[in-house]
Amino acid sequence: MTTVKVLDTQHPGKRRHPKKHNHYGFRDFFHFDPEQGTIVDWNESYNVLTTEDFIIGLVEGLEEEVGEASAATMYTIGCEWGQKDAFFFEKWFETEFERNIRQTNLMFLLETWWWPFTAQGWGRWEVDMGDRQQGFMFINIFDSAVARTLGDVGKPVCFLYAGLFAGFFTELVKKQLSCIEIQCYSMGETYCKFLLGGQDRIDAAAFWFKEGATARDIEKRLRAGEVLR
């Protein structure tokens, strides 16, 4: 006879305080189960702790396998992750706040989306929606896990983040969006900066960036309405 053990994956802290919203402290957010050997977070996702060596291995291993295509590969992985996470987020947000995501203050919604990532070590963020009416916006990431690990290598490295933002926001606004990192901690800057918008704007920014434009130059050119001809 086989015994099937049903695993209770619910976070015990959440079971006790299901309506608690400020649950992002390390001991609140993660539940370590030594018996099962699992780390389940507040939203019942399984987590794996990794070292910086793991990130280096991931980035350098991929580069070794696919060469220059590694950036696009990481971006695509990020996109798929972001799209899937948008559905996952919608589900847990509506359960936690008993409110549809479309009837929620946008900045509050976005902060709530990013908090689990902050708790998991992906860095703090800041969203600049000042140019949203023009069809683009900026996201700053402080302490990117990838850039912090790789250090100053003189080029942007956070393709996974760019993909994550593109994928998530595409699902959120139901419109195809792309994202590019226009400033990176790995270029010696103090934080990473991403531009999110339609493909035409991202292509223009990518072109200017390759030509040596700084994030500030790109911001100015976009705000001045410049596009590629």
């Binding site: 400020n22 992002y24 402290g25 203050n105 900045m107 509050f108 976005l110 902060e111 908090w115 800041e126």
Partner: protein, 158 residues
């Protein structure tokens, strides 16, 4: 306090702590009675503190309690009570680090998302003034630095 004990445990792994390293615990024991009294007092007068702060804030600017067409007074009260309760625990445990990690950093981003910095800055200023009227000076000295920390965090532009 709990953070400090955690730090002590890590730092003194496999050895005895020095007198200097134990000083924080001795200070805590000395301040313990005052901390418990303050905690109990905050619990006792919580409703009055929040109501007085609310009335004073409303007199200063009623627009702080309207968001769009919605009266957010009840939400403001819930938020203020929540912060006050975390402050009370931080007073009892002498643990501003845990207060910061579990409450302050999260709430700061939420208040910014709603553009409530100005109202927050004033809330935690007025609350400090009112607390000084209700608590003894040594009690207020335990509470007000945490409220000032909150005022700076929630009230900062970005």
């Amino acid at each position: 306090m709990l953070s400090q004990f955690e730090h002590l445990r890590r730092e003194t792994d496999g050895r005895y702590a020095s007198d200097a390293e134990l000083e924080f615990a001795i200070d805590y024991v000395r301040s313990f009675n005052l901390r418990v009294q303050t905690y109990l007092k905050l619990q006792e007068i919580e409703a009055a503190l929040v109501q007085q702060t609310y009335l004073q804030m409303r007199a200063l600017n009623p627009a702080w309690f309207v968001h769009g067409n919605t009266d957010v007074s009840a939400k403001w009260k819930r938020d203020t009570i929540r912060v006050l309760r975390y402050v009370a625990v931080a007073v009892l445990t002498h643990d501003p680090d845990t207060f910061r990690e579990r409450m302050l950093l999260w709430f700061q981003t939420i208040m910014r998302a709603f553009g409530a910095q100005q109202s927050c800055s004033m809330t935690y200023q007025v609350l400090q003034d009112i607390i000084r009227q209700h608590l003894t000076a040594p009690q207020a000295e335990l509470v007000c630095p945490l409220l000032e920390m909150s005022r700076r965090a929630f009230g900062a532009a970005s």
